[in-house]
Structure formats: C-alpha cells, structure tokens
Symmetry: none
Subunit: 216 residues, 4 copies
Amino acid sequence: MHPLDDIKPRWERRKDARPQELLAAALDLFVERGFASTRLEDVAKRAGVSKGTLYLYFTNKEELFKAVVRDNIVPVIGAAEEIIAGFDGHSADLLRKVIIEWWQMMGESEASGISKLIMAEAGNFPDIACFYQDEVITRGTNMIASMLNRAVARGEFRPMDVTTVTQVLIAPMMMLMTWKHSVGPCEKSQLDPIAFLDAFLDMALHGLLLPPAPPA
Amino acid sequence: MHPLDDIKPRWERRKDARPQELLAAALDLFVERGFASTRLEDVAKRAGVSKGTLYLYFTNKEELFKAVVRDNIVPVIGAAEEIIAGFDGHSADLLRKVIIEWWQMMGESEASGISKLIMAEAGNFPDIACFYQDEVITRGTNMIASMLNRAVARGEFRPMDVTTVTQVLIAPMMMLMTWKHSVGPCEKSQLDPIAFLDAFLDMALHGLLLPPAPPA
Amino acid sequence: MHPLDDIKPRWERRKDARPQELLAAALDLFVERGFASTRLEDVAKRAGVSKGTLYLYFTNKEELFKAVVRDNIVPVIGAAEEIIAGFDGHSADLLRKVIIEWWQMMGESEASGISKLIMAEAGNFPDIACFYQDEVITRGTNMIASMLNRAVARGEFRPMDVTTVTQVLIAPMMMLMTWKHSVGPCEKSQLDPIAFLDAFLDMALHGLLLPPAPPA
Amino acid sequence: MHPLDDIKPRWERRKDARPQELLAAALDLFVERGFASTRLEDVAKRAGVSKGTLYLYFTNKEELFKAVVRDNIVPVIGAAEEIIAGFDGHSADLLRKVIIEWWQMMGESEASGISKLIMAEAGNFPDIACFYQDEVITRGTNMIASMLNRAVARGEFRPMDVTTVTQVLIAPMMMLMTWKHSVGPCEKSQLDPIAFLDAFLDMALHGLLLPPAPPA
DNA sequence: TATGAATGAGCTTTCATTCAT
DNA sequence: GATGAATGAAAGCTCATTCAT
C-alpha cells in the first residue's frame, strides 16, 4: 500500500485515537489518585477534550475504569507468554529472564499501577477483581507453572508441588508492585527491585535445582 | 493504688470508650469499602452514636482514618516483637513460628485489612504511608533481620546479605494480605495460606540453612 | 390538654413542618412548570431551605412528585365524599351542590393543578396515572354513581345506564380543570366556569329528571 | 403545466420530504414522552437522519415543537369544517355525525395526541396555547355554534344561549382526548368512547330538541 | 446538504461538615 | 457532651446546540 493511502484528515484521525487518548489519561489519573478521587473532568482535560466527549466513548466512570484495566492487562500478559515460548536454554536461566524482564516491562512501566489499582479497588468492583483473577493471575500462574514443568521434565529442577511453588514465585512480583505504589515513595523506604529479585531467585533456585549427579 | 480508685461512673467510662467504638466501626467500614466509599454517617450508626458525636472526637474524615491506622498498627507490631524475644530454640523453628503465627494473628484477623487499606490509599495519604513505613515495615524488617543475625551468629544459617534476605522473607506475607483483600474472594482464586507459607519456608530454609559440618 | 403543652421550640416545630412546606412549594412549581422543568433547587428555595434539606425528606425528584400527588389528592376525595353523605334533599339539588362545590373547592384552588399534572406527566409516570385512576377517578366515579342510584331509587331520575351517565357527568369537570391550566390563561379564552356548569347541569337534569306523574 | 415538469431527481424531492419525516417522528415522540423527555437525537434517528440535519430545518427544539403542533392542527380543523358545510339533514343528525366522526378522525388517530400535548405543555409555551386557542378552540367553537344557530333557525332546537351550550358540547371531546393519553392506558380504566359519546348525545339532544308541535 | 464529533451549561444527587438546641 | 437538621460544594451524567468536514 502506498504510504500516503493511510493519511486521513486530522479530524477523523482524532476520532479513532480518542478512546486511546482517554484511556491513557484515565490510566494516569486512576493510578495516581485511585478510582473515587479521580474526576472525569480531569481525565477529559488531560486527554484534551471536554467532559461530554468522554461519554461518547464510555458509558460511565465504572466502564471507563474497566476499559482501562482490560486495555492495559492484555498486552502485558501476551508479552510475558511470548518470552517463554521462544526460549531454548536451561530452565534456571529462563526463570531468571522471565522474572527480571517482567519487572522491567511491567514493574517499571505504569502498567504496575493497574495491579495496585485492582488490589485497592477490588472491594468496590468484585467483577473487576475476578476478571483480573481470570485474565492475569490464572494465566500468569499457568505460565510460571509451565516453566516449572518444563524444568522438571528436562531434569533441571527437582520434582515438586508445582502449584504451590508457582504461587511462591509470584509473591515477590506482587510485593514489588504493591510496594512501588504504596510505601515505595517514602524517603526511608529502601528497596532495590533488581537486587531484591536477584536475592529471591538465588534462594529459590537453591531450593529448586537438582544437584548435579555426583561423579561415579 | 487502691483498686476502687479506678472506678468511674459508667457514663464517664463510656466517654473514654467512645473513640474506641468509633475506631472499631471505622476500621470495619474502611476495610470493607475503602476510604472514599465509607460514609461517616454509617460509621457513626455502627458505633451507635450520631454523626455529630463523631466530630467531637475526630477533626475530620482524614484524621479518623489516620487514627484508625495508628490505633491498629501499634499493637500488631508489639505482638510480633514479643514472639521473638522469648524464644530459645533453633532459628529455623523460630522463623517458622514467627511467620506462621504472624499469619494467624495478623492475616486471619481484621488487622490485615489495615495493611491493605494503606496499600490502597497510600497515594491519597502519603504521610500515612510513611508512618506505616516507619512504624511497621522498618520495625518488622528489623525484627526479621535480628532473627537472621541471631541465626548466623549461632552458626545455624549461612552468612548472607541480611537486608535483602529480610525483604525476601517479608514478600509472602505482604502477598497474602494483599491477596486476601483483593482477588481472594473470587471463586477461581485458590490459595491455601498455610500451605503457601510452608512451601515458601521449605524453599527459604533450603537456601538459608548451613549444611551440617561434614565429619572430619 | 393545656394549650401550652403543645408549644415546642421554634426549631423543632420547623422540623415537623418541613415536609409540608416542601410539598407546598413543589406543588406550586410542578403545576406551574411541569415535572421536568422544575428544578429541585427552586423548590427548596421557595420552601426556604437548601437543596440538601429536600433530600432529607424525599428520596428523589420522582418520590417528591408522587408525594405531592398523594398529599393533594386524598383530602380532595374525602371532602367530596362527605358532601354527599350528609345530604338529605332532592337528588337534583344534590347533584348541583356536589358539582358546584367541587369546582369551588377543587377547581378554584391549586388542587386542580394536580389533575392537570397527572394528565401531562402520565406518560412518564404510569404508576402515578394508575394511582390516580384508582384513588380519584374510581372513587369519584363511585361517588357520582351512588348519587344517581339514590336518585333513581327515590323516583327522582329516570332509570338509566348509570355507569355511562356517570362518565358523562364527570366530563365537564375534567374539561374545566384542563382548560384552566392550558388555554385558560389566553386572552381570547372566554369561559365562565359557573355559567358553564349551570348550563351543563340544566341540560343534564333536563335529560335525567323523571317528569312528574300526570294527574290521573 | 406539462406533467413531467414536476419530476425532480429523487434526492431533491427528498429534500422536501425531510421536514415531514422529521415532523412525523417528532409528533410520535412528543406525544409519547412529552416535550422535555423527548431527545432530539431520537427524533432524528426515527426520521433516519442525523442530529445535525434536524437543525437545517428547525432552529431549535422549541421551534420543532411549534411546527409539529401547527402542522397537525390545521388539517384537523379543516376536515371538521368540511363535514358541516356539505350537510343537509336534521340538525340532530348533523350534531351526531360531527361528533362521532370527529372522534373517529381525531380521537382515534394520533392527532388527539396534539391536544394532549398542548394541555400538558401549555405552561411552558404560552404562545402555543394561545395559538391553539385561536386556531382550534375558537374555530371549533364557531363551527359548533354555527350548527346550533342553524338548528334553532330551522326550528329543530329550542332557543338557547348558544355560546355556553357550545362549550358544553365540546367538553366530552376534550375529556376523551385527555383520558386517552393519561389514565386511559391503566388496567382499571374502562371507558368506551363511542358509548360515552352516544350517552352524552342522548342526554344533550333530550335537552336541546324542540318538542314536536302538539297536534291542533 | 448532510454528518456526527464535540461542547459545556445545567441538573440531580451525595455527603463531609457545621451548629442551634 | 450529644444530637440530627441543615448546609452547599462537588461530582456524575445528559443533551440541546454547534461546526469542521
């Protein structure tokens, strides 16, 4: 296709872009202030539109919130799943890679705010919490579990209760996200995420790795 | 002091009790609905007083919230510290005991709601978040760190970077509290806290324990 | 009871009076502007209170509207029924009296606005319309019908289809109320209610009266 | 003019049709929901055009409303007047015919909704009310009055106060229209328009007819 | 002409806070 | 101290109206 074929009048391009601009603005404010304290007028203003425009794209505040969650969760999950699919080395390296890259993608971006958001607002939006459970926790859990099964099958990790170990491996990631958006900003709070994850991985691998067969 | 000196007419004792009744009611509702969605009228009603009375004891909603947090954090910390002080066995047993009992006291009681509350509202109350950091996280961290130092000193755990390992040991506890008050109530969410903690402790101790010195 | 026993502090008396003050204000404005065009702030202002106060007594605009209707309909019906109960003369005089007094009580007061209100808003409040049908139309119809039955029983009116004649007798009353609140205020509109009712009654009685028995 | 001169390309003919389609849609919705509750977007949608198009033909909502009223009133009046002009029998039959046919044309069609509309919204549109008074009530009144004068002149009805009797004859028609669009739809509401009009006419003619001259 | 995205004034409703009693 | 009626700012949401295309 000729590159110019895609050019649309500025005005119409905006129409297509609007929902994304609004979702981006809403993500920022929801993460920063929480659901209740975010005023829709501020979301609109940050997106450069008026209050009424927001309602052309989202039925109400709750639907906007849900859209923000959905819009930011799906890509994160997909990305993480791809990392695993294409890996072909030792499972210990894979685990390290997945967890460290997860933090770089999710934790260091604003996406981590989504998780914190869900933790915080779950009580007021049970369906969102369950949606998150299904779409993120379950898929993420399956992803980690598949790594562990692979490792055991390849004789790289000891046999184990995969389900529970999976939950154990997820814990530090949840902690990092929660920490980042709560006490993290406090002066006295001192936590180096990468060092923390390294230490955790060292400890975990120590317990998971099958010791090399002793020389005969 | 003569025991009867402490006796006051009932209505005066009630005066002292009022704030506690209000704090208890507020704790329940804040945990259940979050800060913004909790109406002071409901707090007052649950405490059996009128809305106006609430303002005799707390300047405004924000101060009530802070009082709730402070009131519920202090005892939790103290209780955890006492567990350690009086223990005299192997450090591995101590670690197990502290973590399991912590969950039974904190996690299974409403006190865990306080932590969730702080995570959720930290953005709106930075000073509360820092207060929590100072009074809970730091003290809790010191507590765990002292256990680790004791263990290393007694030749029970390997030498280690105590600060980071401490943070690693805290992670599953934070995860449990967050989980309990967010996706925990979802149908599909399946997590047995005790089994989870056991698995974590197994893995951790595996990495921490100094292998017994080989016979010469 | 001693007359002074009833005296309450001004402030508390107001509390009891509030709903009535609000209903009166709402009646005025609803009749004048219709349901949708009436702003609750104006209702409150006319009652001398703030917007919020209104919500202490009525759940929302719709409930206020329903309360206005109920509050103004019941007494009207009762009053009309009493007129009949205590009458003891010729049925023709009773019919005249009931209809003329009805206009003086209902039509010339603001209560007639209620009927107009219901006609106007019936589409938006089907339950109100039915409530009106049950409480006013049906009761009013029964009232008129009982007069006609009495008249026939006493040999004063000819035998007739009471149900339909009743509806015929109601028509001019409905017309007057509708007229008063619609085209009545126009310059060119010329209708003298009493003359109109007189003419109608003359015509009706002409058709209803049993001619005196011819001398044998 | 040559018959083909009138042929226009379809799109241009549509241009003329637009206002009619819009007026028809607006009539439906105004009658169904009242002025305030009718959204212009719905009117446009029902007419199959966009919201903006509506504003090409009508300055604003109020003007659309007025156009709807005017557009639907004129033909009604004209039709009723024609009935009389061409009649040549007894005045009693004429009166019956006019009133019954009026209900069949006006009452049973959507046109009756216009009258109800005016009754309901008169307060917000005094000029509409007066327009209705002038164009409908006055003309209708004159029409009925002319029938009565004809009847008296022909010695068919007694001499009477034509003005007031006219108003009396109009009452049941107003009642029927009001009833149809307010409490009519209620379950309990039972009114057979034709039976009602028949009963009214019987009663009225009883009072109006000149008794046949006694045989000499 | 026709469109429909965008606007923003305006309204209902909520609730933290005040204060006369 | 205790009450609860009253307040009014604030926020969500609607919809008549405009205007660039």
